[in-house]
Symmetry: C2
Subunit: 290 residues, 2 copies
């Protein structure tokens, strides 16, 4: 079964557990809607690609770690779209969760997805309990304070934004967790060494997101564009110009590959990263990967 399908199945299993019997219907419908249909699933696919490169001796734990990371990503999108943050009307081409289900259910959907991420991980760790602690630490650091997603979103509320920690927390941290968790789920000794690869890919992804925010239409990306300028948020294109932003993105992908730790499946992982990088840019800007 290919990685994409394994991820969808793992997410569906987790959402099925949260749905259970006799739960409040709106909350479980909103949780499902926040996760399906998904986006590119770029983080969980990266997680699985690293696990595979590290031998993947426990595929069910690796896919649970991947799903956990995607659930946390989805949770952050739901809260980021709330009226008090971006007040986004659409996400992935459909009404945002608070538009479809109301603001209260949107807050609770984010909360319940965060909880579900850790629950899904714990359920899968039955087969390798000694790996659970490290996985929970890797993933929790990527989404909490002081350096995870919540911290990244909180930087937007400060009078002065420290740009590097803001971007690292808001985007880089979960990519770093995706690579480290993939290695850790596969029992790789010293999974922390994988963080740097994830951080570089996260930074490249952040620049690609900035580029799409400037050059793409809402129809193409399924969410409002031009938001960074409207909300006064830092954007690489506005800061360095489009050409330099594209160059910086390509440089980051090359340097990501350079910092990849030794592992049995290094060649396949390199190919995965280059193929993914080729999809980061809007079609009109895409160039063949180096």
């Amino acid at each position: 079964m290919d990685a994409r399908m394994r991820i969808e199945q793992s997410l569906a299993r987790a959402i099925g557990v949260a749905q259970g019997r006799g739960g409040p219907p709106s909350l479980t419908a909103a949780m499902r809607s926040a996760v399906f249909p998904g986006g590119a699933r770029i983080r969980p696919r990266l997680c699985l690609a690293v696990a595979r490169a590290c031998g993947d001796d426990n595929p069910s734990l690796a896919v649970a770690a991947a799903a956990s990371i995607e659930l946390l990503h989805c949770a952050s999108l739901v809260h980021d779209d709330l009226p008090c943050f971006d007040d986004a009307a659409t996400r992935r081409g459909r009404p945002s969760i608070h538009r479809a289900f109301g603001e209260r259910i949107a807050v609770l959907t984010g909360d319940a997805l965060i909880v579900l991420a850790f629950q899904a991980l714990a359920r899968a760790a039955d087969s390798a309990p000694a790996r659970l602690g490290n996985l929970v630490l890797i993933i929790s650091r990527a989404v909490g304070a002081p350096h995870g997603i919540a911290a990244g979103q909180a930087w937007e509320c400060e009078q002065t934004i420290a740009l590097a920690p803001y971007q690292r927390a808001k985007t880089g941290a979960l990519f770093a967790a995706a690579t480290a968790a993939g290695a850790s789920a596969a029992g790789y000794d010293g999974a922390a060494a994988w963080c740097l690869l994830g951080e570089r890919i996260g930074e490249a992804y952040q620049i690609a997101d900035d580029i799409r925010d400037v050059v793409s239409s809402e129809h193409e990306v399924g969410k409002p564009t031009g938001r960074d300028e409207a909300l006064g948020r830092p954007n690489a294109v506005n800061q360095m110009g489009l050409g330099s932003a594209v160059e910086r993105l390509e440089e980051l992908v090359r340097s990501a590959i350079k910092v990849m730790p030794n592992c049995p499946g290094a060649e396949d992982l390199r190919a995965h990263i280059l193929a993914e990088a080729g999809r980061l840019l809007p079609r009109q800007l895409a160039r063949p990967a180096a």
Copy 2:
């Protein structure tokens, strides 16, 4: 060191980790403010009392489980106070988090406290990794969907509230987790048997909270009162009258003690529960414990 002080120290350690270096100042200040100074810490003290009754062979894991439960309780209060829910101006006699720090920081504070709860647990489980999975499952079920706190809050958004699952999810679930996690952290085999005790105590606590909402002043309880009637939420006093509500509370405490599983420290735990029950009612209604 007494239980209360151990809990405060464990919470302070967790908040210290979340504060770290170089995090966004408002978020970490708000997280601290959501946790300190605390309320009665009734759930973590119950958790530690059960761990002690079960032999408490790993005190640092037990206190981490207790702190984790309190962090999740604090997170739920922050989100419950938000403008889209109760819109509470005060909590524990001080401005609520969204009044003091803004709505965005309040949403992120709840998120980051949920994450911190699992992180603190994982950090403490180094000494007994085989116990972590069960603890994460016990605690996550109590706060997520379909039967945890988020589900309880979501019932308030449904057209018709199913009363029993609503109250069990919103209040009972975390009390049940407090007893089960206390037993599980102490290595008690079959910790699920402890849930019933926690559920009964949680139900008694819910009735006490309903009574305070009707008969106490905002000054006495540190948060707005009369909210259930104002928000059209179910309240035991409004449903069965004050006298019957007090009787029901006392009956629940007696039945809680009856369902307590066998354990080495049963006598001390019974005394703890009776002493706590004596503090549940507002002073003007308190009667000597049976």
